[in-house]
Symmetry: D3
Subunit: 260 residues, 6 copies
């Protein structure tokens, strides 16, 4: 089983950390590549739509490349699930997983109402729309913003954990959340201590997305449950791709860590 | 990893068949019990709400029993997901999976619109409500009824397959479905040939539910993602259960097949 | 006109009180039975889904019995409206009324937004789903929990009334409720004083449900407006009930008070 | 108990027929006035919004008058429920009933899905919006138009009955309706034969509205469940009405039939 | 291009002020009439539904008159958008604009979430329903009431501005509004200073409605995009209007100010 | 007033045609640039999500460029409204218009229900999601696909017109559409003849989008109604853009036609 974790950013700086997380928990039969892009110049902060959008075209290239190289599943590693529907169209027989959708689907088996803890209020509207379109608007207790940045998540661990505890605690107390999702792939490393202290399930979206990718790759291989290619799922015809000379460059990979 | 598949009916007649299906596909580390109830008298036909309801009380007993006996997950093996919310309340640290919810969550990763093929128009309204409450009403292309019974599914295989082909084909053509879910646990054995002929993913809900149970049990054990016990998920206090003398009888198991 | 009020619990302890309430307000032509179950062991606290579920099977039996004994209407006397859809399927020509649905339908004629006052936060999610499915989610200002138990409702009347005043007052002031529903059949005896003090309509769900039962029984008898038996409302065929030997035991009645 | 049935039109031509219907079915304690307006000139055909609107101002006057003259309830006798929210604001302690809302609330106790049969496609959109705002959009199977006028309903009884049978039959067969509402107050006189032939409940909206008015008037008098006057339900202050000199003319009554 | 601004009230008192506003901003080719009604007696306070309704019939007359006199567009100058759907039915080839709908459509191009600032809590429910029916319920952050009257808007300018600043500020801070709509045509004269201080777009609904009327009149004339007269948009037939002798009186104009 | 029309594709082939359309109808004070991209290789067929996505990054660059060069408004010239929310974030004080949103907002003033006519069934799901998110899901009668390509729109005019007539006619007859939107910017040149034959408003989305851009640019300049930059509308800080060295290349313009 081959899985690609796409860091949708043009810098390798979180690749190692994510690879380490996946190495710990992957099933024996999975071969995983953690990949970031070679987009340049590249912001590191994906909080802005306009920044995310700078990688959209490259993500499409990369997903197409992965599909052609017999990956069973790819994760687009950002909780916004950027460009997920577009990537799924071009993914051939490969499953594409979004961390937000994966986390919510798990949570819906664990409780009736959940909250999402994010860095900044900026992000709330877009995530709300996503969760609404996924169908879980009625189960969403709240999205609470900590007023912290991804830099804080990575370098001010103590402040971040304290803020997570506070905001998740308020979500439970005031919004009646019954479970918590940490709504950024860089909010890793916190879920277990929070879970112990809050006494509700706390979902880390890297683990949720990665294990969902394994699960969906497994059942794809067993049962043939590949992405539909009918109606809205129909991809561009290969002939047309060829005519336009598309996707002929090297895939826009900046960094790759392989975990066997 | 211990998993219980509950046939929510007081007769063992489909236990063997389902056990055989699971034996084929289970992961090595799973130990599975396929169990039916000892409710008597018992209908075999779960199409009617009033018939389902005859088993509700026993299902609750059984789920409580499984939770106390360290099962990691249980599946309530009917596509109506009967009494799922109630069972989840009393399941302790055990995950409870419903075939309808599991099938839809998988399908939402494979396409944008899907249809469900059921036996009888009778069932449509209740399933529509369930799917709406799960949040997938907008993605549901249609629920189409074949005007066949579960007896047909088991004994008139050829007629059933023909009807499935016809109704799924119409769902694709007229309702613009991009994937098909076979909406009854007794509609097993058909998905692969349908999938080949229809060229869209066709989900068998036994496989979907069972593999989801393994997946959720696995991440529960790894990450501590157990059911929430907060707010609406709070179970009755043990002290109250004891005071009322509840759940002291033997669990209402009529038949059990263990698969190692 | 024959009406059955079902206390969906295996203890007779509130039967007398409810019978007294109904005796006061019933129309002359109504003959009413207040009935509780003989389920044993039985909890008294229906706040938990898993506790409610212990009575589901018996409720179905009882409703079937009432339908066969020419009752015109039955009320399932709990504000969760437990198993209402299932009971309606097997009720033959008899109307089945749920206190929640009845209270809301009345309230929708009296104001544009209402709140429900319940005992515990535990109950809110399930009632929210019910009210959403009944179609009144947009008119629901809030469901506020008093952090009291049904024991408090029955035995700490002063504390309960004080809490009701406070929470209903907050619902009016902060959630802009224009009417109040007391969301538990055991919250009886309070509505009139609350109504005087709050100056908005305060609906007691026993009265609401009982009078709706009389109303619907009356128009059923006048106009032939019996429950539909088409599509999702189709009951199991009598022949199948017979074949499976169902519903042949005595009805699970533990206590009966008849009011002429 | 005093009830006013308002024919919201400036001609008396259906007053007698409606009075006759109500005379047959009213409860002994009800005193009923069937009233039409003296608006002149007046269309008879209320199918058009702009025609309805010609009566809005007069309806408000009349409802205010009824409220001041101790009527317990008034029905605005058109299935569009014209100006219902506005009339409810000025109705003091009097209940105001709309035939559409009343019919649907009854139907929601009899089945899970229903269709409405109307004269012309013209009307469908407005009724759809009303039913959506009442909260029953998900339970509405369809609104089917017969391409007939109210003149046909009154004078071509056989053609009308035939068309009702056909369209209701199609609603049952193709839209999976489980109950039928005749969606015009002038569609009276047909429900019973249709009901016998279609074998589902068929609601006549005059009977539904009138009996709901009696029911709500009764519980208002018993329990003090009067219209809320809080927030959106607050009426104009009497002082302001006086200052502006409003509602000082005779009420716009063109015809009145009293039934004791 | 001929545009009519209808003050839907029987007093001329705001006509001059509104005419002055429009004079400043109208395009050169527009000829505008600001018109109020001759309804008598007439309230000035349109906060109450029952007061609004006193003008409904006259508004219909006036819109019909404008349509017949070759106006290209009319604005019904109240943020409730009173009787908009009805007026649009009878408007022939003339566009009818509602200030609420116009303001929201503009705002939806400027931000993702907005709040509306109104005078009194009384108004909130009705506006909420309107905005929901227009389809913008999900984008509505809040409707906040200042507890002020239209008299305050006109005569206590400083208090009003202070209250607007406070409530809009709270809407931005607590409800995460990204834009503000001043939800009353008499809240004119404030938007620009608020906009500077709040640093988000603040829409004055007179300007929004008037400029939308010009825009829609312009594209109607250019592209023939006149109101549909199909299905629910079909007007009463002229023959029927004639038969009933409708709309033959002078139009109910009380005051008219023409701006060239 | 400066307006940019962005053809979101890396080929100039429709630029001239669109420029000609706009030249005819633009207001005197508008200065318009029709611009396509220099993306290479480039598909011409934007029906596929994955093809659209190839331009997303360049569109963001271009919108940023336009905002910095004092354009008042830009139109992203594709009926999918590709990347609209992202472009609006980075547009500074410039308005960004999407043809789908603009067409629907106009249509909502002309009728109660409308249909969209598109080339291929492939597109329907994505447009449905967009229209749902814009809030017009309830007013959408249908999206009907003609099974034609954009090549047909441009080169097989007669076949295209015939197909439009047929599908729009069916939308009116069977889906009860009251207005028609031609749902592709390349469906230009047809609306007027269709409108005459169908006798309902038929909106050409190039005209709708362009004239909306003028309208919004005009009121932005008059009233200061610029895009909000609060919460979800906050752009990346200029300092961060600089630090990352973003947007320093020439704007990705392949072709530009200026219309004065």
């Amino acid at each position: 089983m081959k899985i690609m974790w796409v860091n949708p950013v043009g810098k390798p700086y979180a690749d190692e950390a994510i690879a380490a997380l996946i190495r710990d928990i992957k099933s024996a039969e999975a071969e995983v590549d953690v990949v970031s892009l070679n987009t340049s110049p590249s912001p590191v902060d994906l909080e802005y739509r306009a920044y995310e959008a700078l990688f959209y075209t490259d993500i499409i290239h990369l997903v197409r490349h992965a599909a052609n190289n017999r990956y069973d599943a790819a994760v687009i590693g950002c909780f916004y699930d950027p460009i997920l529907a577009d990537a799924r169209e071009i993914s051939g027989e490969m499953i594409v997983v979004g961390p937000c959708q994966a986390s919510i689907q798990i949570m819906a088996n664990l409780c009736n109402r959940f909250s999402v803890i994010v860095g900044s209020q900026k992000e709330v509207n877009q995530m709300h729309d996503n969760i609404h379109l996924y169908g879980y608007g009625r189960q969403l207790a709240s999205i609470r913003a900590m007023n912290l940045t991804t830099t804080d998540f990575l370098h001010n661990k103590q402040i971040t954990e304290q803020a997570m505890l506070q905001h998740a605690g308020e979500a439970i107390k005031h919004d009646y959340a019954e479970g918590i999702i940490l709504g950024c792939t860089l909010e890793y490393g916190f879920y277990r201590r929070l879970q112990e202290q809050l006494d509700v399930p706390v979902v880390d979206c890297i683990y949720a997305a990665y294990k969902t990718a394994e699960h969906l790759a497994d059942i794809k291989n067993r049962f043939g449950w590949k992405p539909s290619r009918k109606w809205s799922c129909a991809p561009p015809p290969e002939k047309s791709i060829e005519e336009f000379g598309l996707f002929q460059d090297e895939p826009p990979i900046g960094n790759r860590i392989t975990i066997n």
